[in-house]
Amino acid sequence: MNNININIKTVKNRLKAAPLGLTLASLLLWGWQTDYLFYAIIMGVLLELPYFIKWRIEFSEKDINQLADLSGILFFIVTVYVFVNYSFQGIYKILELLPFALVILMLAQNYSMQNGIRTSALFISIRRMGNKADSDILYDTNISLPYIFLCLISASSGNKYNEVFFFSSSFIIVWTLWGLRAKHHSIISWLTPIAIVISISFLTQQGLQTLQNNAEIFFLDLFEQYGFSSRDPDRARTTIGSLGRLKLSDRIVLRIKSDHELDTPLYFRETSYSRYHHGTWSNPQVEFDIIEKTPAKKEWRLNKQLNDTGNFDIAIYLQDQSSILPVPDNINTLSGKDLIQVETSIYGSTRIEAREGWISYRLGYSDKDFVEVEPTADDLVIQLNYQNDFKLVAEELELYTKSPEQIINTVKQYFKDNFYYSITQNQRYTRGQYLTKFLFKDKKGHCEYFATATALLLREAGIPTRYTIGYSVQEYSAWQKMYLVRARHAHSWLKYYINGKWHKMDTTPSIWAPMEAADRTIMEPFFDLLSYLRYKITGSEIESNTESNDWLIWLLIPLMAYLVWRFYNKQRVDTKKTRNDNFDTKLKRFGMDSPIYPLLQNLEQEAATRLQGETLSKWIKRILPITEAEKYLQLIKLHNRYRFNPVSNKRHDKQSIKELLDRV
């Protein structure tokens, strides 16, 4: 069978180009949601313009590949830039910026002759295979519809106007589907499912939000029950009673630079608690006092009477804009451009307002005496079901007859001699029995057991105590030249009040830190390096925090310049003109470039117009006297030969016409 005569209506399952206006609409939605409206308008107009203009740029496959690579590089730079500035939270920022990264490819597609991007431009693996790749994977595809959907998802990262966004994005999706609908169905049978889809998906998206709320409540309850202590100034749930092995991550949470060697371990408290009840330490309603910034030094002074005797430069990773800061007991001042507001509570919490991610600040301390907050009645209360247990221990240690200093020493010695450190709890007891079993049976536990038991025992002996949580500073990194505090350095201890002062006391065996360090992963140095790089690049670096890190933006300039250069160096092709050009070249082959035409035009203007169907020689004879016409007729003869004789020597003919023309 001869394939020329065979009519085959092959179905090509390929994406169509977006209809006029759809790209602009989706970009406007994106720009509106993400506050890039100005750029969105420019990009949208540029992408829609090819519908109205005729010229195109002739891109070779290699050019498109290079542009795709350029898009990839731009996206990579944007990703690094965003990651560096926003850390993992930056994923949404990257999502927000995606339409920028891919607009180059879209422009290349819309302004090119091909009206599609070959899959080899998008996937290096296909490109490597060249033309040998199977047609299943190597084909031209129009990326405008995927770009529109990308704009929609990207717009969603703006997270604004919940319901308006739903209806706007539905409108764009419906518009897209209108162009893609199966034409054999009536409009009614298309509108019916569309109406169903919009209604049900509206309910579904509301359902999803409710589902998340409920799931969060459920899982947060679960985490609160089994997770490690949280840094809530009102409440701290301990893992007392939790089974299994306690494991905290190696993540670096705090970096401390000191101009002198520290006497480690140094305790950085986050907050203290006074009430203990079934594994949870809490405080009555805590009110924070806002500290005013001193206008002269631009610092927050926690104690106006004292001057700093030393300071630390600290960098901390904040997960929330409002966070409790780990600080030493003798903190005096805080300063740094990253801090927005500083508050303190009577329980020793220092709360700051700052941006999320790595921030740095300077912490001044004073070795002089502070004015202390007096203990409250809560600092002496022991939960009812533990009262007998602690009474027994206190009697055994004869604490009731000793002076406060003796009590402190006895208790310290008691825990040192009789208890050992363990991060594993395998035995299950009934609720409210864990501390009892710790005291009388197991005699092992982690810092929360020690701190809680010590605090309650001292209370039994009449000394007010508070349970304190924070970090123990103990690891010095020689190559980073700073102290590193990791999540696993989180610790709890207590403070007791005697002689009008609060004192720190830690009865946890000092083996706790090496034991928890033993669990560190072999990847720790690698993660440390990553963390260090991130900390260095984010500009939160201590000492250089006044410098901007926007230098990365400058990398984009040479790239953009390269792109513009590529565009302007390409041969621009006018599609309309091309058609005419093709027509012209076809005629030129028959001698349309004959030098006689300008002369004929002049004659036409000066003498008389040539009639329709009139030959050149007839026309000349009509308009000119015979003597003069002779010269022209010779010229016309030559011209006719040049134009119509297929075997004549064209170059020679043209030359002869020119020579004769000069004479005429």
Partner: protein, 447 residues
Amino acid sequence: MLRRLLFANFKLVYKLSQWMRQRFTAAGMLILLTMPVAGVFGFDTRSTLSFQIFSITLILLITSISFSLLFRGKFSIDRKLPDYGTVGTALYYSCAIKNNNKKPRKGLVLIDDLNSPFPTLDEFIHAKDPLDKIRNRVDRIMGYPRLMNTIRKLRGAAIAPVSIDYIAENSETEENIKLIPLRRGYLYFEKIRLAQADPLGLFQAQKIFKKKDKLLILPKLYKTPTLNTHGKRTYQQGGINNASSIGDSQEFISLRDYRPGDPIRSIHWKSFAKTNHLVVKEYNDEFFIRYGLILDTWLDDKSEDIFEDAISIAASFMTAQKEQDALLDLMFIGNNTYRFTSGRGLGGTENIMEVLACIKPVYESNIKSMEVMLNEYMHECSALICILLDLDKPRQRLLRTLASYNVPIKVLIISDTEKLEIVYIPHLTDINVIHHDRLQQDLDVLS
């Protein structure tokens, strides 16, 4: 172990991707891909509004699939296949579709399905793909593209779906379908699907018609030189019987060029006078030329491309042989020893081509069996063409044995490498290398 695990996963992935490709339109695929992306970014409904896009796309797909269930109708389909096809050359056939409904039907798509058995684990492990050289390391190690290639080869052809715009009620339409065979052998047609997209244009409802058929795809043919070896005519035992369909022993058949050994009395002097070439009168006789063509099937670890080339060259020789007086024996070793004879009215070209279309390579050496077969054959053979896949030591030994029979031998070695070393074999001068990339040029040089 890893291969087994990969294989099991690939099977699942392949089946899923096939289902998606057959069921979803391009727009449907776009929605299907948008849904998980929106789902991932919208997982936290407080961080982005992407969950709204997830909801819309999810409900769109569910609605589309539900609406596709409404596709009903009675149709009958008949496939009309040609007799043969050739590897790499598009062939066209038609399908007659009858709409047995009381209403006309629009927007149907006809998808003809070839049986594509999923490769066995053994086939997956031993599969070779020349494109692996230019694939990236991950693809090479994982082997999914290689597996796809194996499936494509097993299926044997690619058939693009065809759209049927309109069929009137109770009437029939005939649609042409294009098929490009990728390999020789039989193609097995299994079923025909009639699909129609749902109103949203995302998902295709399908009706499946079981229609089993088979179509023989012949190997690719090349222009080959005429066999003009200097072999003598040899006495063929039972030769007359072999050539029984031509006629009596001394019946004149035609004139042809003189060959050494032809009796002088059969020279046609008139023609000699005219042409200055010795021309003989040809009679049907038990003395005639018998060519042998040995096809090497021991592929070992070499590329399948060169085996295909060898088959094509053998097929080209078998079809190009026009001489009526000569017998041509095709010999190869597959599971058994095979010998097929054509020429002088015996076994038509069609049969030989069918045999060649279905030969499969052998992965264990069979050169010794070939030697045994040829030892018996050489006495009745006038000339021999050996199509070999290599010139390694076993094959050199075979050629040395064959050379000792003093029968003209033309050796063609198919190779895809430039480094093939031609060793000297006593009494054997006609050794030619046919390179995979310039097959026709190398064949042209032979003449």
